[in-house]
Symmetry: C2
Subunit: 411 residues, 2 copies
């Protein structure tokens, strides 16, 4: 990678290096939300930069509550904005040096959901996660269902309840029936879980009836976020046959505020796991389509510091994003700018890399300890879950920041 030096102060190990420059929506005090780019501990106010005449995109596209209209301008335009900002942050005689008002401290800003999500799809693309779940809930000898290696299995999720990092979530109420009960009861979930996922944001719409090929899929992916698909396992277990997860998921999903572009992640591409048996031709794809992104999950009680309870990696995904998008549209289903497609829980091979408490506590059978000495199987009230992720190679770091959320008692 060409070495870039910025005149802006960026802390060592910042996720938001000069190589990253992710897009988000922020507000200051009671201002209207608007678009920005993160650099180090600051945010660049894109509308303000545009008003200085330094960008090809009019400020009105940045003075918006979401990035949808900006993203819809297309990659040629959005990539140029990112590269123009990069240049402005690198060149010695940058006009931005005379305009401190375009910089906002991240700690002073409120972050918002970066896109209006039209449709949200959740995949199930980690073979380790699908195998673990299959072992627990079905047959340990035939943990993977027959379709799993042929289809990037996914389902439609609830878009309305996607919230930005930092939003508190009330423990959901719902119907629960354990094997011991004669009839279901209505109660607060007591098997509340997180799911360590990444999601991609669709950057280019299609018409109904149009297919996206694996080769063209990257053109339709604007960028990625961290995604926590909160799950109430007890509600889910009773409701999910035969039509899939519903209220066990729809009370909330949390996403990180900064969308890291696919272009910023280009240096971190790696080959994915071998797919055996061979997939159908519309899913066949050559080359590197996985991404080496280190992930970790922190859990903190109200009393304790965070305990790292999992370290995983996005590169483990059996099905890659190009295959997910090709599959999703192979029937002619249309996608829109701002749609979010999440990976499904990203588990690795060993116990220290499992992406959910269901797996970490093996269905509640293996309690584990937090730093304050308290034990956990699932999430208790006032616990906070924080997902972090970054890619790093040859001293270059491109990260996602975090997606965090605290579970409050049920209402």
């Amino acid at each position: 990678m060409a070495k870039l030096n910025t005149w802006v102060s960026v802390p060592n190990n910042s996720d938001f290096s000069i190589y990253n420059l992710p897009f988000g929506i922020f507000s200051l005090n009671s201002d209207e939300p608007r678009a920005g780019i993160a650099i180090g501990e600051q945010i660049i106010d894109l509308a303000a930069v545009s008003e200085l005449g330094l960008l090809d995109v009019e400020a009105t596209f940045f003075r918006q509550k979401t990035l949808n209209e900006f993203i819809a301008l297309g990659k040629k335009t959005t990539n140029k904005v990112r590269l123009d900002i990069q240049k402005l942050l690198v060149i010695e005689n940058s006009p931005l040096k005379n305009h401190p008002e375009v910089f906002v401290l991240q700690k002073d800003a409120t972050m918002h959901l970066p896109v209006q999500v039209g449709d949200y799809t959740d995949f199930y693309s980690s073979i380790e996660h699908a195998t673990n779940v299959g072992k627990m809930f079905r047959d340990p000898e035939n943990a993977l269902l027959p379709n799993w290696r042929h289809i990037p299995v996914g389902y439609h999720g609830r878009a309305s309840s996607i919230v930005v990092s930092g939003t508190d979530i009330h423990r959901p109420m719902g119907q629960v029936k354990t094997n011991e009960m004669e009839a279901p009861v209505f109660q607060a979930s007591n098997r509340l879980d997180f799911e360590l996922e990444m999601g991609f944001v669709v950057g280019k719409s299609t018409q109904l009836g149009e297919r996206i090929s694996v080769e063209n899929a990257a053109e339709h992916i604007f960028g990625l976020v961290l995604f926590n698909d909160w799950s109430a396992r007890d509600i889910q277990k009773w409701e999910y046959v035969p039509l899939g997860p519903f209220l066990g998921k729809s009370f909330a999903s949390s996403m990180s505020p900064w969308i890291v572009t696919l272009e910023a992640l280009e240096p971190f591409k790696v080959e994915g796991p071998e797919q055996e048996p061979t997939v159908l031709s519309y899913l066949e794809v050559e080359g590197e389509h996985n991404y080496d992104i280190q992930l970790e999950v922190g859990m903190a009680s109200q009393a304790s510091e965070e305990t790292i309870i999992s370290r995983s990696n996005f590169k483990y995904m059996y099905w890659n994003m190009m295959q997910q998008l090709a599959h999703h549209t192979v029937n002619g289903c249309n996608v829109n700018v701002g749609d979010v497609m999440a990976s499904g829980t990203i588990s690795g091979k060993d116990e220290s890399s499992y992406g959910s408490l269901l797996e970490i506590s093996w269905g509640g059978k293996k309690p584990f300890e937090l730093k304050d000495g308290s034990m956990r199987t699932f999430i208790e009230d006032n616990d906070t879950i924080t997902l972090k992720g970054f890619a790093e190679k040859e001293g270059v770091r491109v990260g996602f920041g975090e997606v965090t959320g605290t579970i409050l008692p049920s209402k």
Copy 2:
């Protein structure tokens, strides 16, 4: 019901009587789409009526591509608009008599999707349909799954691919694996089906964490439409375990263009089937919450007139809309104006009232005849499916018009 006489010519048996006055979005020639109310064979241009100073709502709310902003004004306002129009169409000295320009012939107009659908949920609330499917796919002796009588089972559908009546649909391609095949193949669906459903449009948003009680649910329902949840049974069968229907449904769903308000349907309320065992308290509801709406399905080949292949009724629903909405939000899931919640296939007890070809042809085993003498089990290319529905009582008719769609060959 108080007898109303309008000075507008309305054909006998029109679905769009003076008692109905449903809302929709129409355009003429290359005009921008805008809001209207149907009466007989005409449409009243609401923006034009507003500009005459005859409505409390500004024309800007009607000069919109969808009804979302109008609906979000709230029932007090939207009901008053409907009643004001009703009065203008009834009174002798109506100012509209001097303004023929506010009337547009339906046959000259193009109808559009009436709302932007944020989230779409599909329920599974007909006990006859769920039992038929269970008999075919699972155990005839235990056709209903254990959760079915406790939960209004539902799942998230794809909002982006909801289209307005009259939109042609290309037969979807997808992965199919029959029991006889060793491995799945990629092909055009050859078990393409419709589902006779009704959907309701959410009229009042909630915040995340808020619940809607069965008692308050009607406040959140703006009105109803006919809904055809096209289904590719072969794709669905291979993909749906364990996370539910996905590409077997997401290629398209069709809805009728006119939203009939809940208020217009008030005279047609009836009691629903007895629910046994007793439901949990958050689902308990007294009184009349089903609606006596007669439904029929017509099927036509390219060569033939329509054959009526099913007659059903919305009153058969085991779970009513109030229970569906209470259940959907009991975990705190938020709803937005414009969300669509569909009933699931509405089948009656006997074969002539089944709401899908899966049931009518009993999984393809019982071919039936169309008027041109050709036989069908599932939908063939260039076949047209049309759903119609109306309520009628004491000479008053309130109907939905139709939702129609033609299946074109796969692309």
